[in-house]
Subunit: 224 residues, 2 copies
Amino acid sequence: MTDAKAPPRKRAPSKRSLETRARILDAAEVLFARGGFDGASMRDIAAAAGVPVALVNFHGGAKEDLFATIVARRADALSQRRLAALAAAKERQSAPGLREVLDCFIRPYIDLARAGGPQWTAYARLIAHVSADERWRPISERYFDPTAAMFMAELARLFPAAAPCRIAGAFVFSISAMLSLATSRWRIEAMAGLPHGGNGGIDDWADVLIDFSEGGFRSVMAGA
Amino acid sequence: MTDAKAPPRKRAPSKRSLETRARILDAAEVLFARGGFDGASMRDIAAAAGVPVALVNFHGGAKEDLFATIVARRADALSQRRLAALAAAKERQSAPGLREVLDCFIRPYIDLARAGGPQWTAYARLIAHVSADERWRPISERYFDPTAAMFMAELARLFPAAAPCRIAGAFVFSISAMLSLATSRWRIEAMAGLPHGGNGGIDDWADVLIDFSEGGFRSVMAGA
DNA sequence: GTCTATATGTAGATAGAC
DNA sequence: GTCTATCTACATATAGAC
């Protein structure tokens, strides 16, 4: 019963094919994360994966499709971590507070970017590119907005008297600060007077960021 | 005494030449702001300015030089507004508080982006591109870091016991939130349930943003 | 200073042999 | 599935007439 749909039936791909495909997607993820869609060419990706250019098109399709595939590949895993954390928080206390809600959204991202391996580190940067460029709005809407809307609903529950615009503003400010850890930690370290490559900074920024977001939120809600 | 240096002496350019140059720089500013360095071609810029491609090279030089010129063109004006605001704040009270310092940094940017005309609106987006891409780090260091360092010093004065890393982190979070207003206001409005093009949102975000940054700062400083 | 025409490189994508 | 060779489009940049 595993067939009987998906018109152009296909056989299971060989093991080597799967490995090739994985190498290509991993290379594309790293290069797209570094320079965005325009900052990496199909040839760069092929070279990084150690395959001819034609194979990148064969496994990834057109460049835009490849990009969308890369974004989609880990989107569910991230969303599920966030939603699972939210569900767990609701089990502990029927109405989780602001800090708990923000924690459920932010910490999975930081944890995966920091300790999920190099591909997750790249993926975190990739999300920053997708979020910053309105050109990828359809991708955001498909893969990230549903989860964001769930958290937006929690925030609206916590501040029933606040204008949605202010809640959404504070939430987007928090998300921007979160993404800046993927793209601009070098700037933080430079500004703090730390040496270029040296890892003299904070290892796990999650708590600092959640402090910042919570304080920012409360301040905006109080000011309304 | 206005000559006697700059080896290849030049005459004052004609009025028409200056207008052409201005049209090219304005067009480049808008297009670079929309799509970043890679998102606009020299042909796009020439077409938007209504001139042949060769004129873009003539007035702007190579593409990277043109980009740097565009960033440089308004950098001083922005810095001077910020530093003038800071100086004025120091005249009112010898040691301005956190909110005043953040206001001096954030409000000039928001005001110019909102009411400085379409070129300043574009420039605000352009700064977001420059800040997000480490490739432009030399440009940032030259045109934006000196002013940022001045404000960093004020913040360090306000929180002498805090680790520089935490101050810098909170400052970069604030800057990221600020820049998100240039790149992601559509996302705020979408998340708040507002229609696509309709301007049903907040007109002047400066106070909301400064509330957020101040609250975030105090929260991070308290958590240390 | 401005224009036309062009040199030169590189991009994405595919055809067709294996 | 994989590879070589190639097609087509468009990029940056400049030469040289006006």
